[in-house]
């Protein structure tokens, strides 16, 4: 259960990622679009993945990530630390994702889509990517139990307060350094730790039967 320490965890890439990002940002600002393409290539998986964890389906996650890249390109001049492009982009992604969730939830409450359908792999929609289709009847009992548990975990995470959910997703699932999570959440390192721990405590209560 040993986990990498804050110092040697590097979820944002190689040690010189900041310098690479800063150079790419400067070249983009000078009009070199290929430099922005480098940034897209470096951060596209992370952006889509974070949006996916927050909104629960691939289609919306891709749209949100694409929108986030465009917004980042438009406001690149406002980025104070070009080397911190990654956390800045993820902050845009998470804000867009949270707005998307809120508007979708309002719509669901107004009589639209049932909220359960908001999550792929949720109770009503079993289309989780990377997993065997339940409809195909190919699961073993263990896999079915595991899948059910994963669904419960997802639902429990989805019900966490926004800040706790975001902190848990970025730190515990996406493996971001706490410093970057703090930058995305615009709070201190200690607040990140506290939010992650509170999220764990809440999940422990909700998922007691599986622990």
């Amino acid at each position: 259960m040993s986990r990498p320490t804050e110092e040697n965890r590097d979820a944002t890439g190689r040690p010189d990622t900041n310098e690479l990002d800063a150079a790419a940002v400067r070249r983009t600002l000078a009009g070199e679009l290929a430099a922005f393409d480098e940034l897209v290539n470096r951060y596209q998986k992370r952006a889509v993945s974070v949006a996916y964890r927050l909104v629960g389906n691939t289609h919306d996650a891709m749209e949100i990530a694409q929108d986030a890249f465009l917004r980042a390109f438009r406001s690149l001049r406002t980025l104070k630390e070009p080397g911190r492009f990654g956390p800045w982009l993820v902050r845009i992604v998470s804000n867009l994702s949270l707005n998307h969730r809120r508007s979708r939830r309002l719509w669901a409450h107004a009589g639209g889509l049932p909220e359960d359908d908001m999550l792929e792999g949720g109770a009503s929609v079993r289309t989780a990517e990377g997993e065997t289709s339940a409809a195909a009847g190919e699961w073993s009992l263990d896999e079915a139990a595991s899948s059910e548990m994963a669904t419960k975990v997802r639902q429990a995470i989805d019900e966490l307060p926004e800040k706790q959910r975001l902190a848990l997703i970025l730190f515990a699932i996406e493996g971001w350094p706490q410093r970057d999570v703090a930058e995305v959440l615009e709070c201190s390192l200690e607040t990140v730790k506290w939010n992650v721990f509170q999220a764990r405590k809440t999940l422990k209560t909700k998922l007691a039967e599986y622990l």
Partner: protein
């Protein structure tokens, strides 16, 4: 912010899960867990939960990354092109606007010198431009000239020739006086104003 945790045990458990305990803190946690069965149980539950949560990382969206990247860059290029057009228009305006302003100022100064002056009709004398013959009668004239006809041409623009207007008015007054003092009527159409000595 460390005091946001409810207890030392909580803070140490969080630190262990996050992987940022110092050796001294690890030792302290070991001591606590060894002496407190409930704490030990709590630690095990949290560790299992942590594994469950981290397992979520295996669930990844299936995306054609090349296509996604191409889509993003298509939007970015469109945005860059739009900016380029805006920048060109701005540059064009920033170059031409001062020139246009300078040209407008030059025209404003030069045009009145060469253009014909408009006739200011509203202020013109009512009889401007007319030639009227006037007969008058002056019984009291010292020279014995008791009446004659004079021909007067009013200036075309009273505004342009204030001196003429003043003269015309003076003549008008004089003629009116002459008519008023006349022993016989003078046709109004004949009345006017000439430059004659009173």
């Amino acid at each position: 912010m460390t005091d946001r945790f409810d207890s030392e045990l909580e803070r140490l458990l969080a630190g262990r899960l996050d992987g940022d305990l110092t050796p001294a803190e690890s030792e302290r946690l070991r001591e606590l867990l060894a002496t407190d069965e409930a704490a030990s149980h709590e630690a095990e539950s949290l560790a299992r939960l942590d594994r469950l949560v981290r397992a979520e990382a295996r669930r990844q969206p299936r995306v054609d990354w090349s296509a996604f990247r191409a889509d993003v860059m298509t939007g970015v290029k469109r945005e860059a092109d739009r900016r380029l057009v805006v920048a060109r228009v701005y540059r064009l305006v920033s170059w031409t606007a001062p020139l246009a302003a300078a040209a407008a100022i030059a025209v404003a100064f030069l045009l009145p010198e060469s253009a014909p002056r408009p006739v200011p009709t509203p202020n013109a004398h009512p009889a401007a431009g007319r030639v009227i013959e006037v007969a008058y009668h002056r019984p009291a004239a010292p020279s014995g000239d008791v009446g004659r006809t004079v021909r007067v041409e009013f200036s075309r623009s009273a505004e342009m020739d204030r001196a003429a207007l003043a003269r015309d008015n003076a003549v008008h007054n004089a003629a009116t006086l002459a008519v008023a003092s006349s022993s016989r009527p003078i046709e109004a159409s004949q009345l006017l104003l000439g430059a004659w000595p009173l």
